[in-house]
Amino acid sequence: MSFFDGLKFRKVSSPIHNLDPRIKFIYVIAIFIIAIVFPQMLPLIILFLIQLPFVVLAKIKKQWIRSLRGAAFFAGFIFIINILTTFFYNDFTLTALNVENALAMTMRFVVLFESFSIFFLTTSSDHLGLAFEQSHVPYEFAFAFTTAVRFVPVLAEEAQTIMDAQKARGLELEKGNLLKRIRNYIPILIPLIVSAIRRSLELAEAMESRAWGAVKKRTNLYLLRLHKGDYILLGITILLMVVAIYVSFFVSIPLISDLLNPSVL
């Protein structure tokens, strides 16, 4: 599951980890927009390279490379589909331009994945929940989000235990026709639902006991405050946007295949 590993937060301390998730999110969205606006290979390569310093600064090289390796399968898939469609569409011929366009499509995916991966690898769900809370998202939603993140692994573990318990009573999940197979899951679903309900009641009880709902405006132990790094990232993001807008209106972007072919120059 290396693809998802690339999106799983790992606790490290780095300048990138300490950035405000809200600013990081704006940055990711900016990269996203720019990558969508430019269909050419050259700007996409530049976008890809611009983000490498973040990976180094965040000390997430290993996980990031692993996640890229995981994404390679999808990238390869995108490339092949693109090549094949143009190949069939153009009466079974391929030009250097076709290849470059297919590569650009692939590169776009890689850039998008790269920036999302950097975001999720360096942002804890706690931090993210906090960002929700302080972006005027109602507290109940932010709480639901963090609670979900907190209890997903617990429920997954519980589902495994239930499955083991029923298998130990002779339940064979893979037995029978489709209808029977679906019915096989009833002995797993019911205990899982019952326990989730029981759990939520206990949770509610514990929340009540800790003054849930005491005041209208609750406070927060942490405060997200913009630091120097956040302003720098915001600056970089704005600069990137400005450059991108300028380039898209006033500069014609050369093709890599032309650059490599001296006869055109």
Binding site: S125, T146, L203, A206, S209, A214, V215, R218, T219
Partner: protein, 283 residues
């Protein structure tokens, strides 16, 4: 002495049930006491705890008769969040009472709900973490620490609200004996050094009887016996109800019926019994 919990002719029935779970309980707990409540499963001890901060009747509904006065407040007239400042509840399953993604955030949860300022909150959280001995864990995720540590987080999270009373409902039943002892040590220290009134519900009297001089035995929704554990654990009624007598106390009783008398007070721990035996055998 000042009463901090006073129950008067309490009868409570859960909604949709005909038999009352608490059936005529009157009880006084003094400020600063360490009270131990025990009794067979279903005897009403958990329900009793829930009345202390108003979970009964506010959260559970049902029918409550009688008077509950806790920390000078009439519980039925107050919301649970009002009572939370006075009474902290710690539950059996550590997993289901922690909901934040970091330990200190969990400890701060109650204070955030009370709308406390950040500076004050920081102070209180650090204070509570230190008292529970988990300051080093403050940035960890509650999900990734051991059960014993989770239970200490739960203690710290009610402690942060600086309640006068902490009520713990079988807090160690998921823990191994050594972690359980550590929890009891933490609770005992809170009682002795901070003067917090402790109400502990437990089956494991072998580990806890030594901490208290006020033991309450419940059965079928009623208080059957109440007083010093040295008297109560010798009482035949206690065994009849099905309370597990600590082995050290049991051995002492057996020896006594056999005419081997150490003529001292009933021992509550292995240390006490060993000392008595040493003295008797060396005479």
């Amino acid at each position: 002495m000042m009463a901090i919990i006073e129950l008067c002719d309490l009868v409570y029935t859960y909604p949709g049930v005909s038999k009352p779970s608490i059936d005529g309980v009157s009880l006084t707990i003094e400020k600063g006491e360490f009270v131990l409540i025990t009794g067979p499963s279903g005897c009403g001890k958990t329900s009793l705890c829930r009345t202390f901060n108003g979970l009964i009747p506010h959260f559970y509904q049902g029918e409550l008769k009688g008077q509950v006065t806790v920390a000078g407040q009439n519980v039925t007239g107050k919301q649970t969040f009002d009572m939370a400042k006075h009474v902290g509840l710690v539950f059996q399953n550590p997993e289901n009472q922690l909901f934040a993604l970091s330990v200190e955030k969990d400890v701060a949860f109650g204070l955030e709900n009370l709308g406390m300022s950040r500076e004050e909150m920081r102070k209180r959280v650090d204070w509570a973490l230190n008292l529970a001995g988990i300051y080093d864990l403050r940035e960890r995720s509650p999900h990734e620490v051991s059960g014993g540590q989770q239970q200490r987080i739960a203690i710290a999270s009610v402690l942060a609200m600086q309640p006068e009373i902490i009520v713990l409902d079988e807090p160690t039943s998921f823990l191994d004996p050594l972690s359980a002892e550590k929890i009891f040590d933490v609770i005992y220290k809170l009682n002795q050094e901070q003067g917090i009134t402790v109400v502990l519900v437990e089956h494991r009297l072998d580990l806890t009887a030594k901490y208290t001089n006020h033991l309450i035995v419940m059965d079928k929704g009623k208080i059957c016996l109440e007083g010093n554990p040295r008297d109560i654990l010798c009482n035949e009624e206690t065994s009849r109800i099905g309370v597990g007598i600590p082995k050290a106390t049991l051995l002492y009783k057996k020896l006594k019926t056999n005419g081997f008398s150490v003529n001292k007070q009933t021992p509550l721990s292995s240390d006490e019994l060993a000392d008595q035996l040493l003295e008797a055998l060396n005479k």
